[in-house]
């Protein structure tokens, strides 16, 4: 090959690279959605995954929760305006619940029903909100979604056979078997989204009476948004519902975009390409702290990370062994090592994020006493323990698992790690109780201790696959549900938290924080205790 030929080809290569760079550079402008220069009022939220369908069932993972929460078409919501930090510094309690599609509501004298008067709202399809929409949506949720059915008819105690009665066009009646403190709180959850039944029923068939097929790719709701476009697994675009009457921010478009890679989501928000980055790892979130144009906000959350020990295992069935394991864990070190100090150590059987809760008994860190307890239980030399975890359930579980392995080694427990890649496999193991110990996360659908105790720790709970059964515990939970006196409720919550330290149904590790990473051009963030944000309050400057 002569020198002239090589030079000629070299020039060609340079031109090709330059052309590619130019095309990429030109295109990059279209990829950005604004940097808050005052002209762009659209909001892009980067999620780890956008669901393949828009319905509540089949559940498409956290992406479904974010999209549905974004619709703001539930009967109730939380008004955090009077809560410290607008819900960031303190968890909004049940007293912060207010109507979203409901105007007024009242519990009947016999505590068997709640009468709702609906607001005047109109869907983007032009249909007015009626009691029939409430009945159709709630009955549909119970019929097609197991989580909704369990939450509404078991954790809360709605009448499964007749949950809603239409009184008149604007009045609906919720029918209860028993009234509980969480009666209205469960209706803040996106799984109880109220749909435009007139529109949806047009797409129902004999084989598909709930219009499931149509609902998978379409939205007909009464909130501030309507569906502009949906690309399954890729993005959901919402634009304002022109018929919506109610307070809202100045956003003209909300896009939920699937960006699976965590570091890419962080880079996108740094560049201003997206305005919210969801589910960042602790390390990525830390890296955004202090970044120009980015707000990294740490708020209280009812979510807890926990070490669940299977009581069907002979060693772990002994309460002394469970207490020894709890006592051998240095929760502060765990948080420094695996959480970048972005969580708080769990101190008792109830999350410390609930205001007014002050249990007397707390977890302690005492390796010598842990060894003694283990010896008293008949395991002076410890025992082997398999610890199962999955990043699909707890993102930083591998780091936590390694630290727990080291900590438990000190009392002679030889931990082997079982990292499960697929969420489905992990769920199989968990719900079939095929594990010795798992690192788990509990994000309660309702931020109230009664819900957490009942959903996760009672003997009849579907989440309790670890075999904890304690009659006293269950009785206290039942009393808490039946109580309408605030002082008595607090006392019962404290008693349950203390009993948890004594009986150790689970070894709670951390009280997690809700982490919000967003563009500084965004204002109006009001964290919901449920977690996923609702863009209805947001504006861009």
């Amino acid at each position: 090959m002569n020198a002239k030929s090589i030079r000629h080809r070299g020039r060609g290569l340079v031109v090709a690279i330059a052309a590619a760079a130019m095309v990429a550079a030109c295109g990059s402008q279209s990829g950005d959605t604004g940097n808050g220069d005052g002209s762009d009022k659209s909001l892009t939220i980067a999620l780890p995954a956008v669901p393949n369908n828009l319905d509540i069932q089949p559940y498409g993972g956290p992406g479904t929760s974010y999209v549905l929460a974004g619709l703001s078409s539930t009967l109730f919501t939380y008004d955090t305006s009077k809560v410290p930090g607008e819900g960031c510094d303190q968890l909004a309690g049940l007293d912060a619940i207010t109507g979203q599609l409901v105007d007024t509501w009242s519990l009947s004298g016999d505590r068997k029903s709640i009468k709702l008067t609906l607001k005047d709202q109109t869907s983007a399809n032009g249909n007015k909100l009626t009691a029939e929409d409430v009945k159709w949506s709630i009955e549909r949720a119970i019929a097609i979604a197991s989580v909704a059915k369990t939450t509404l008819t078991q954790t809360a105690e709605y009448d499964a056979d007749n949950p809603v009665t239409v009184v008149d066009e604007k009045t609906a009646q919720l029918n209860l078997k028993n009234s509980l403190p969480i009666d209205t709180a469960v209706l803040t959850h996106p799984m109880t989204t109220i749909y435009d039944s007139v529109e949806a029923k047009k797409h129902a068939t004999g084989d598909d009476p709930w219009a499931n097929k149509w609902m998978q790719t379409n939205l007909a709701v009464f909130g501030p948004w309507k569906l502009d476009s949906f690309t399954p697994g890729d993005q959901v675009v919402l634009v304002p519902n022109p018929n919506f009457t109610g307070p809202r921010g100045n956003l003209t478009k909300v896009t939920f975009k699937g960006v699976p890679d965590d570091s890419t989501r962080a880079q996108l928000i740094r560049r201003g390409t997206v305005q919210f980055a969801v589910s960042l790892s602790y390390s990525q979130f830390s890296s955004l702290d202090g970044a120009a144009g980015v707000t990294a906000k740490q708020c209280v959350s009812p979510t807890r990370d926990t070490l669940i020990l299977n009581l069907n295992d002979p060693a772990l069935s002994k309460v002394e062994v469970r207490q020894a394991i709890s006592m051998a864990i240095d929760r502060k070190a765990l948080i420094q090592g695996a959480y970048r100090d972005l969580a708080k150590p769990a101190v008792s059987g109830v999350s410390g994020s609930y205001p007014g809760v002050s249990p007397q008994k707390t977890y302690t860190f005492d390796v010598a006493k842990a060894k003694q307890l283990l010896a008293d239980a008949g395991y002076p030399n410890g025992f082997p323990l398999e610890l199962t975890f999955s990043t699909t359930r707890v993102a930083n579980a591998p780091q936590s698992a390694v630290l727990l392995q080291t900590m438990l080694k000190q009392i002679g427990i030889d931990v082997t790690l079982n990292n499960v890649a697929a969420a489905a496999t992990f769920a199989d193991l968990y719900y079939a109780s095929k594990y010795q110990a798992v690192i788990y996360q509990e994000p309660p659908a309702v931020a109230y201790p009664y819900y957490a105790f009942k959903a996760y720790n009672t003997g009849t709970s579907g989440q309790n696959t670890y075999g904890f059964k304690n009659a006293q515990f269950d009785q206290l939970v039942q009393q808490l549900g039946a109580s309408s006196d605030a002082q008595q409720q607090t006392s019962l919550i404290n008693q349950l938290a203390d009993l948890s330290v004594d009986t150790m149904p689970e070894v709670y590790l951390t009280d997690d924080a809700a982490l919000y990473a967003y563009s500084s051009s965004v204002t109006g963030l009001k964290p919901s205790p449920y977690g996923p944000l609702s863009p209805v309050d947001l504006s861009r400057s």
Partner: protein, 362 residues
């Protein structure tokens, strides 16, 4: 008496039968391969069905959620035929397959054939462009490392190849995103095929750049092409390293072959000498290109995830992690058929390139 003498068609009469014979041999070869194709697909699908369905999983609980009651689980299992024994399910699967029904996803209730039509073109577009980059770049690096083996440029080519080969493809992708998107602001955000554009309004073939072109949407076409740059560069770079190793190795031998020596002795320019050497090894190069195309279709799931490409690989990966069995089977069907078709074409092309290659059974 005048005797008419027909013109002597010696040249034609001798060449035509040879060409006809060759065409006929090629046709026979293609038909033989086509006949084998359904059998091979059947065998792969059968093995895949029993392996996939033998996985320890509870599809109903996974799809319906952990709190699903027994009645809902039973209804789900009945709907998807999971309450039947494995053999009955297999027979139904084959029956449905023959009718063109690939089943429906447990999670989205969408029909699998529709999903394949939706996701495959995006992957094919990315794969083919990556293949072109890998082949061009790989050949250039391979030639350089073989032809200039003792020079600085040859050593540099080998070093680049070794480094790129040692780094996982997703790491190359993340590095390119960091440098070209985040630091230099040259590349667009890795937000899929058309960035923040509306993909739904484009759909014709489901390959974004092609669809934008077909619709005459030049603005979106520019966006789609720019979105292609980094993922194509990632895959192209990664596979070019492997490709250049193979080309370099083949070429080192070919450059010492008698015909190359003869070409040099005849005073042919070095460019032509290299071309002759490349022609000498064209058959294994074509074989490797076909193999690479097969790898790309089945193996770019991670890169699709990094770039939020929403193609076949990302779809299949999500299906695997969720043990969505119809999705996994649908993906295996497409990947198998595509790969076998490629190998069939490879056989034919190899025969065309070098008729000495024995393809007929003895």
């Amino acid at each position: 008496m005048v005797t008419e003498v027909a013109p002597n068609p010696v040249g034609l009469t001798r060449a035509a039968p040879a060409a006809r014979s060759r065409r006929s041999a090629l046709l026979r070869l293609a038909l033989r391969r086509l006949a084998i194709l359904p059998v091979a697909v059947f065998l792969v699908l059968t093995a895949a069905f029993f392996m996939v369905n033998g996985l320890p999983s509870n599809a109903a609980r996974n799809a319906l959620g952990p709190l699903a009651d027994d009645a809902a689980v039973a209804e789900f299992n009945h709907k998807f035929g999971l309450d039947q024994d494995l053999w009955t399910r297999y027979v139904h699967y084959l029956g449905d397959l023959v009718r063109g029904d690939l089943g429906t996803s447990y999670y989205t209730s969408s029909d699998i054939s529709g999903q394949l039509v939706r996701y495959f073109p995006a992957t094919l577009e990315l794969s083919l462009l990556s293949l072109v980059v890998a082949v061009v770049l790989g050949t250039a690096l391979g030639v350089l490392s073989a032809y200039k083996s003792q020079s600085v440029s040859g050593r540099a080519a080998r070093m680049v190849t070794s480094v790129v080969q040692a780094v996982p493809d997703f790491a190359i992708g993340l590095l390119l995103i960091y440098v070209f998107f985040f630091l230099l602001h040259l590349a667009p955000a890795p937000l899929g095929q058309v960035g923040a554009e509306d993909m739904e309004s484009l759909r014709i073939t489901n390959a974004a750049a092609l669809d934008a072109l077909l619709r005459g949407r030049w603005d979106v076409f520019g966006s789609a092409v720019s979105q292609l740059v980094l993922p194509v560069a990632t895959l192209g770079l990664f596979y070019s390293a492997i490709f250049s190793r193979m080309v370099g190795s083949l070429l080192r031998t070919a450059l010492k072959s008698p015909q190359v020596e003869f070409a040099r002795a005849c005073g042919q320019p070095e460019r032509r000498v290299i071309w002759y050497a490349l022609l000498d090894v064209r058959a294994p190069i074509v074989t490797y290109i076909a193999m690479l195309a097969g790898f790309l279709i089945g193996g770019e799931a991670v890169i699709e995830t990094v770039f939020a490409w929403n193609g076949l690989g990302q779809w299949a990966l999500a299906g695997v992690l969720a043990t969505d069995l119809p999705v996994i089977q649908g993906f295996i069907l497409v990947a198998t058929t595509f790969t076998l078709l490629l190998y069939m074409m490879l056989d034919v092309i190899s025969h065309v390139l070098d008729p000495r290659i024995e393809t007929a059974p003895k």
